[in-house]
Symmetry: C2
Subunit: 321 residues, 2 copies
């Protein structure tokens, strides 16, 4: 019995070693398998990631954000094609905001990126963010590092909508690319108010639309002082893509050459570390206090027998932390 347990633990360890080795060799099936473990918060994922972590840090992680309707999907399709022309391996992650409920992909892997599906140099995956705890879930860090360890040169992370997700992408990406269009009205407000502070590059897509010239001048004025490079593309007409990729590559070279990437890596490490600790603290807490006790206190709060502040303080006082 003890022997078989030892054997099974050894088997498990060698299974993890094999999975890690297979990902380092760029195997997409193994990568997909571990991404599912990451999504499902399976502890095995951590064991694999521990083995991959030292082999990360080579890829350029690019966050791409902009509201629905900015033509982001088509633009990403074109960006990938141009990266492939330049012989880069590309990983694409779509962070799916709706999935806490559906568990499925918003604009699933199946419909988008058709052009690249048969290309071995492109790995595509959408990531269901089941983690209702909020913010950019820790699984996004892990998924990006997995795609990095796989040997991708560029990793595109797409987030949808203006909101917390959009701003938080800056916590995991080396470079944030914000996509706007000549039609962006409300977004200009967002740009002024905060999105500008996370944008490393700004793209005005749909340059084929009327009003494009004025919007481009307007955005140029707005960005001039901030020193954010501005590009115009028409993803629909495959127009302006190469200069954009040149801009992305230039930004990456500067980031690596200057000291700024080191600073970013330290920030990312800190954020990821604190996020892991937060998740684990809550798991430990829930285990220690017990589901029943939490429910009992929630009922007291619901019936107004206690206020939530006093309830939280009372429960935490028991923990002796």
């Amino acid at each position: 019995m003890a022997k078989s347990r030892a054997k099974s633990s050894k088997d498990r360890k060698s299974g993890i070693d094999e999975l890690a080795a297979s990902i380092l060799a760029g195997n997409p099936r193994s990568a997909a398998r571990v991404l599912s473990l990451i999504e499902n918060r399976n502890p095995l994922a951590n064991e694999v990631m521990k083995r991959l972590y030292s082999r990360t840090g080579r890829a350029h992680v690019i966050g791409i954000t902009g509201s629905a309707g900015s033509g982001k999907s088509t633009l990403i399709d074109r960006i990938v094609a141009e990266f492939r022309r330049r012989k880069k391996r590309v990983g694409i992650l779509t962070v799916d905001p709706s999935s806490p409920f559906s568990g499925g992909a918003l604009l699933g892997d199946r419909v988008r990126m058709r052009n690249h599906f048969m290309d071995n140099g492109v790995f595509i995956r959408s990531l269901a963010t089941r983690d209702g705890q909020g913010g950019l879930p820790t699984c996004v860090f892990e998924a990006a590092q997995l795609l990095d360890a796989m040997g991708n040169d560029s990793i595109l992370i797409e987030t949808i909508g203006i909101g917390q997700n959009q701003v938080e992408i800056a916590r995991v990406a080396d470079t944030v690319l914000v996509v706007m269009t000549p039609e962006s009205g409300d977004e200009i407000q967002a740009l002024k108010a905060g999105v500008l502070e996370i944008a490393d590059l700004l793209v005005m897509n749909k340059s084929d639309l009327p009003g494009s010239a004025q919007m481009f001048v307007y955005l140029g004025d707005l960005l001039g002082a901030a020193g954010v490079p501005l590009f115009k593309t028409s993803a629909l007409n495959d127009d302006g893509i190469a200069p954009l990729i040149d801009g992305i590559e230039k930004r990456w070279a500067e980031l690596v050459r200057g000291g700024n990437r080191k600073r970013r890596i330290l920030d990312i490490s800190r954020t990821q570390l604190l996020a892991l600790i937060r998740d684990r603290l809550m798991i430990k807490f829930e285990k220690k206090i017990g589901e029943q006790e939490i429910t009992r206190w929630a009922q007291r709060v619901a019936s107004k027998a206690s206020d939530p502040y006093t309830a939280a303080e009372t429960i935490l006082a028991k923990l002796d932390l």
Copy 2:
């Protein structure tokens, strides 16, 4: 010295009592002051909220969500006007996604809701969600409860963009109203994928636009099975607002009459309790471990001397939780 300390603690306590009493009397200045304390995570806010909590639970909390460009601001303006015609007091909170960076309002209090600014029956505030930890920050719960204790009959909470924020509004609201337009293309996908599961009412705004009739039929087919009531409005032309408010009131009456509101209050209590515990656990943790130690570990992770999983496990093992 001891005497003056005792006196100042007594003063502080009576200051808190006064502030709480003033909010219960509906004083907007006091409410604004405590909302600032809530935003800044000032511990005084908790002390005030402890005193208000037993006086909450009367207001109908309505989450309103939809992408930028859906005409939500104008629609909310019309909804408020109709509630006022019906002699309801209304509180409005705008949850501002961009503010972790700017600290300012996206489409600030100043420009919107001009029509209601001089009306004492309307309280307007935008809430900067500085809490980058993510999700719907605990301050949204607290702010909604404050507006409830103030005596508002309806509290409108507006979130911007499709994303985590949009889905999470369901955690604090009694009723979620999703706003779409005949132009909503990508949003239909979102609707199918998950937003539908949080919508209690769906509004197709901009019913004056071409394509409106088809979209309305299409949405009706989509929602029919789910039993979500569908409304059409043209906020621009002040069209369809009264039937929408009738629908909101009907929903509220059913929620209160049936047992579902109790269920919601229990869910909200649980979520708020766990969110408060999460925040406090992290504060306790950071105090106990110390800023220097966290930075030291972040540096080890950044330099790849450790992976983040091993680092988190090692730090937590020291805590003896």
